[in-house]
């Protein structure tokens, strides 16, 4: 099946079996291995990418369903010489150990900060209609779809908080 995808600003023509998930398309067909496969069932968040501005689990969606869509992966957020603010903060705050969950964490956090800007409440927001106070509990709840087997959670929260507060690292 022919599928046109714009990935990190570059146009790609994918020709793959209809069964191909967006995750497998990225990793196996397009050679972009930054996005990781953990559980392959929506339970870990390692495969998180941003599609048309929203974070999703790329393991639970078919590549062919995204014909014409814009995909951003970890490779598109920054480069080794020019890290994104969140990438820099994860380094500065030791937001990882083995690093396997990190691309998913950073893609997820990038889109999550936009959700906060858009005023989306969360399960821990005391008032659904009030402005969001970005507590650590808010960050943890909003990032609960990204598991870290090394349990780097406290530093992940710290890295995200720093960027959310506009701090430079």
């Amino acid at each position: 099946m022919q599928t046109k995808l714009t990935i990190n600003g570059k146009s790609h023509n994918l020709n793959a079996d209809t069964r191909t998930t967006l995750l497998d398309a990225l990793r196996n067909h397009l050679g972009m291995t930054g996005t990781k496969k953990g559980c392959d069932h929506g339970q870990c968040g390692a495969c998180t990418v941003i599609v048309n501005g929203r974070r999703i689990n790329s393991c639970l969606t078919l590549a062919c369903m995204h014909d014409g869509n814009e995909v951003t992966t970890i490779e598109g957020l920054g480069t080794v010489d020019d890290l994104s603010p969140l990438q820099r903060a994860f380094v500065a705050h030791d937001g990882f150990q083995c690093g396997y969950c990190t691309p998913g964490q950073i893609c997820s956090a990038t889109a999550m900060l936009e959700e906060i800007k858009a005023g989306w409440p969360s399960h821990v927001s005391a008032d659904l209609n009030a402005e969001i106070a970005l507590s650590d509990a808010e960050i943890a709840e909003r990032m609960s779809g990204n598991l870290c087997r090394c349990a780097a959670y406290p530093n992940i929260v710290e890295a995200i908080r720093t960027v959310a507060q506009g701090g430079r690292t």
Binding site: D17, G45, P121, G145
Partner: protein, 327 residues
């Protein structure tokens, strides 16, 4: 995953025609693809409905009309939902994760399948997956299973949080049948109990497409969704309660309750609502309500904890909603 034929519907008649010809609808795909990977379901033909014009949330009939493709995140973030149906926003926000809610759709959420371990494992017998093959949840691992409404054939629970809130709110569905005609159905009449046909989960007919969910006009009082689970986030409910209580002059003037995690469908018991109306809130009243709710409960060894847990969760929810609001 087995191979399948994929097509994208251009408009609703297109989708209805494909459904009528036996195609399986794919919307967010977060449940269907999960089950296809496990070969729990093996559709030969998928119809992708995500490009249909069913993404609007609009005021209708004094209430709210929600397109079947509205994502769980957009619905939870919608101004009117947060203000007038907060129980629905809370239920949605307590489900799954930020990533999943971005993909999960209103229609798909209602039709997501049970998280029963035996249903999800195609190597195990399961009356829901393979009618007549048996149920290994009975006498097996039942932490997520039903204490009410189950049968000798199946004790699987319906996993949706959103559907519990919508059941409490008495939402309706607009369904398009394979002849193209639309009909309306109350959500409270939508899910079937397993009996000896646990593979038939709803009253939908082959080829039906859910087009919309319609919420009735906002009702008075206070409402909330309380969910108890094994970890603080990103886990299905062990027990949940959606409740609305309206107080007048120290008495309960109106009440509506629905429960999740305890039954094969979002559980609504009209006797529970009736018992509360006209009464002065008290611990004794709440205990009586729990007795009525749990009358006929048939827990297994592995989920007997849900009986006291439901009692306490119900009491805590009613206490919260009946508490005097400081002026």
């Amino acid at each position: 995953m087995r191979s399948f034929h994929y097509e994208r519907a251009a408009d609703t008649p297109d989708a209805v025609a494909a459904c009528a010809a036996g195609a399986t609808i794919i919307a967010g795909g977060t449940n269907l693809l999960d089950l296809m990977k496990r070969e729990v379901v093996q559709p030969e033909r998928l119809i992708d409905i995500t490009r249909l014009d069913l993404r609007t949330i609009e005021s209708a009939e004094g209430g709210l009309s929600i397109g079947a493709l509205v994502s769980n995140s957009d619905l939870a973030a919608h101004r009117d939902v947060r203000r007038d149906w907060p129980v629905l926003a809370q239920a949605l926000l307590s489900g799954a994760s930020g990533q999943l809610r971005n993909k999960a759709t209103t229609g798909g959420n209602l039709l997501q399948r049970t998280r029963c371990y035996y249903f999800q494992d195609s190597a195990m017998p399961c009356n829901k997956r393979e009618p007549g093959s048996g149920c290994h949840a009975l006498g097996g691992a039942t932490r997520l299973h039903a204490i009410l409404g189950g049968s000798d054939a199946c004790i699987a629970t319906h996993p949706s949080d959103m559907a519990v809130a919508m059941t409490m709110l008495d939402a309706s569905l607009d369904i398009i049948g394979k002849d193209g005609a639309s009909r309306r159905l109350r959500l409270r009449d939508f899910y079937r109990l397993p009996g000896d046909t646990p593979h038939i989960e709803t009253v939908l007919q082959p080829g039906d497409l859910i087009a919309k969910v319609v919420l009735p006009p906002p009702a008075g009082g206070r409402q909330t969704y309380r969910k108890v689970r094994d970890r603080a986030s990103y886990a299905f409910a062990l027990v949940s309660v959606a409740a609305r209580i309206e107080l007048a002059e120290g008495r309960i003037a109106d009440a509506s309750l629905a429960f999740g995690g305890i039954a094969p469908r979002p559980w609504h018991d009209p006797a529970v609502d009736r018992l509360l109306v006209g009464e002065v809130p008290s611990a004794a009243l709440f205990a009586r309500v729990a007795d009525v709710l749990l009358d006929g409960a048939a827990p297994q060894e592995g989920n007997a904890f849900k009986v006291p847990l439901l009692r306490r969760t119900l009491t805590a929810t009613l206490n919260e909603l009946c508490r005097e609001i400081p002026q």
